[in-house]
């Protein structure tokens, strides 16, 4: 089975972001980047499928030159080779144009399965995977927690709201967008890092793929969330207060 994993490089989660003078983007100097978190889980899911069934894992990444470090990391973890669609204007592309670019690049590989994260940690539009599926006429499922492949059929577990799950089956080829935290991420072993040096990274461009640059959506202004301090008094019996507190720590503060 050939699995394509579309991954994006984003600023590291704990970065301190400063909006630059244009007001439309942030200062990139000195920022650390990493593989978009849900994409890292998509990669892990792909590597686990390969461990079980054999086949090939190909990484697809559209981004500037610097994204090469995330591609290397994916190769070091065990992906076989990569496609890098080199472009440093992608930040200004709208999701549909970007999906056209990725779909075109994906097409050159005719994968059985395309995995990607359910959304990116930076822009968070959550459309890329679904749009790719639609452009390529493939079946798809979003917020996937578990993947089972039986021959040419997929069975996946999807996360719904309020603790509900849905199981769906679909034929291959298909596109799945993967939820964070569904598996245990592996480390890049030192041997893997060494091996990655000699793995193939094919460079493509929007021009070589024949995809016009897309700027349908214009970003007007970025602003940091306003911080406000607000004291909330929890009412009720001690047990009720504790339950409310746990709720807040879990879902608002995300500390639990």
């Amino acid at each position: 089975m050939k699995i394509l994993v579309a991954l994006k490089q984003v600023p590291a989660r704990d970065s301190i972001l400063e909006i630059d003078s244009s007001g439309r983007t942030f200062n990139h100097t000195g920022l650390q980047s990493e593989i978009n978190e849900p994409d890292a889980y998509a990669l892990e899911a792909a590597l686990q499928l390969k461990d079980q069934q054999g086949g090939e894992v190909v990484v697809l990444c559209a981004g500037p030159e610097e994204a090469a470090s995330s591609i290397r990391e994916a190769l070091a973890k065990g992906a076989d080779r990569a496609l890098h669609v080199l472009d440093d204007t992608l930040e200004e592309w709208d999701p549909l144009s970007l999906a056209r670019l990725l779909a075109k690049a994906a097409e050159t590989e005719s994968p059985d399965l395309i995995l990607t994260g359910l959304q990116s940690d930076d822009t968070g539009s959550g459309q890329t995977g679904v749009l790719i599926a639609s452009l390529l006429g493939m079946a798809h499922a979003t917020i996937v927690m578990k993947i089972e492949v039986n021959g040419r059929t997929l069975k996946v577990k999807r996360e719904l709201e309020g603790g509900w799950f849905q199981y769906v089956s679909m034929p291959l080829p298909a596109v799945l967008t993967v939820q964070s935290g569904i598996n245990k991420l592996r480390y890049a072993t030192l041997m893997g890092i060494k091996k990655a040096k000699s793995k193939e990274v094919k460079t493509l461009t929007s021009k070589s793929l024949g995809v016009p640059a897309g700027h349908k959506v214009v970003l007007e202004r970025l602003s940091l969330p306003r911080k406000s301090k607000e004291t909330v008094m929890l009412a009720g019996s001690p047990a009720e207060q504790a339950a409310q507190l746990v709720e807040k720590l879990k879902f608002e503060v995300k500390a639990l």
Partner: protein, 389 residues
């Protein structure tokens, strides 16, 4: 997969390759995920976290800068970065990996026969076998050339008699690299656990390196075949060759301990308030200490990196390594002491890593050539006069 956040005042990251940064990230994450949840209890109980050995083997940490025989074939800079991240966790973990790689695998790789390499290196690389290095004796520490452990020819084999002490990993090692005096000068031997006449006993009551096993090795008419001799390990120089490898790793490792102390103290100073509700970080005396630490850490990083590049170019001399070990260990110990001071009473508690690093670094100051001995190596290098005796 939190990316690497380190202390990088001078943008030194621009001097590392993508691979080097990936190696550092793997070591960093491993320490963060696996060691940090354990280390406080391990240190308190005086226990080495041996459950981490197999995974460290899988990741390629043992003998990482050796090539072939199941080793990862990393550069010396990459190896150094692994040491830094391990010691950011705990000097005991770094010591384990130093001994396994630089003091056991390196001599087998460098001075051993092809059969010895094939037999031991893959097992040691995978962590299925643990090794130790026996040079120091009760009567001979800084001056190992005076050793009294003897190996005498006995038919086709050898008989070992004597005692080694302060041996890291001794009690848990399946194989020991042992240095002994012979009629042909000092030589290196491999002794397997369970050999008749070979016994180990662990040292208890250490107030430093508590998450590391330190033992004594006793040899009483311990007979081993000649195939257990490292044929090219002749003279004290061969033993010192191993120490040079390990000291190089220490030069990097202690930077990790220093960084951990600095970051802990800096973060604390920003939130701890005294006098008029001001964070202690706003006081000039506190800032002076933080400024000293970050400057010294940065200089130590540059020194280590330069030595690493020299080593990769095969131009690193033992006298260079002495400067690296001496400077960086002193620096780290001073950072630990200053950090302890900045944290006030909290600085002495086990919830913070400072006291643990400080106590560990007292051992690091002494082992692998004391601070004095490296001072004398540097002194000899610049004057041509050896001042050891």
């Amino acid at each position: 997969m939190a990316s690497y956040r380190g202390v990088d005042y001078l943008l030194l990251d621009s001097l590392f390759s993508e691979e080097e940064k990936l190696v550092r990230q793997t070591a960093r994450q491993f320490v963060q995920d696996r060691l940090m949840p354990l280390i406080q209890a391990c240190y308190r109980e005086g226990r080495f976290p041996s459950e981490l050995i197999p995974e460290m083997g899988e990741l390629g940490f043992f003998g990482a800068n050796l090539d072939g025989y199941g080793c990862a074939g990393m550069s010396n800079v990459e190896y150094g970065l692994i040491m830094q991240e391990l010691e950011r966790g705990d000097s005991g973990l770094r010591s384990f990996v130093s001994v396994q790689g630089a003091l056991v695998m390196y001599p087998i790789f460098t001075y051993g026969t092809e059969e010895q390499r094939k037999k031991y290196l893959p097992e040691l690389a995978a962590g299925r076998l643990v090794g130790c290095f026996g040079l120091t004796e009760p009567g001979f520490g800084s001056n190992p050339g005076g050793m009294t452990t003897r190996a005498a020819r006995d038919g086709a084999g050898w008989v070992l008699n004597g005692e080694k002490t302060w041996i890291t990993n001794g009690g848990m090692a399946g194989v020991a690299v042992v240095w002994a005096r012979t009629d042909e000068g000092i030589q290196g031997f491999l002794v397997e656990r369970g050999s008749p006449g070979y016994e180990t006993s662990d040292l208890h009551g250490k107030l430093s390196m508590r998450a590391s096993v330190t033992s004594s090795l006793a040899f009483r008419d311990c007979r081993i075949p000649d195939s257990m001799r490292l044929p090219d390990a002749r003279g004290l120089k061969a033993a010192l060759g191993c120490l040079s490898q390990a000291r190089y790793g220490i030069g990097w490792g202690v930077i990790g301990a220093a960084i951990d102390c600095f970051e802990t103290a800096r973060d604390y100073a920003k939130v701890r308030k005294q006098f008029d509700d001001r964070p202690i970080a706003s006081h000039q005396l506190v800032q002076e200490k933080l400024a000293w630490m970050i400057t010294e850490i940065t200089k130590a990083q540059l020194l280590a990196l330069h030595c690493g590049r020299l080593k990769d170019a095969k131009k690193l001399e033992p006298a260079h390594v002495s400067m690296l070990k001496r400077n960086n260990v002193r620096m780290a110990l001073e950072c630990a002491r200053l950090s302890r001071d900045l944290m006030g009473a909290n600085g002495i508690m086990e919830e913070y890593p400072i006291m643990r690093h400080m106590c560990n670094l007292e051992s690091v100051f002494t082992y692998e050539g004391t601070d004095h001995i490296h001072t004398l190596v540097i002194g000899e290098n610049v004057t041509g006069v050896a001042a050891y005796r």
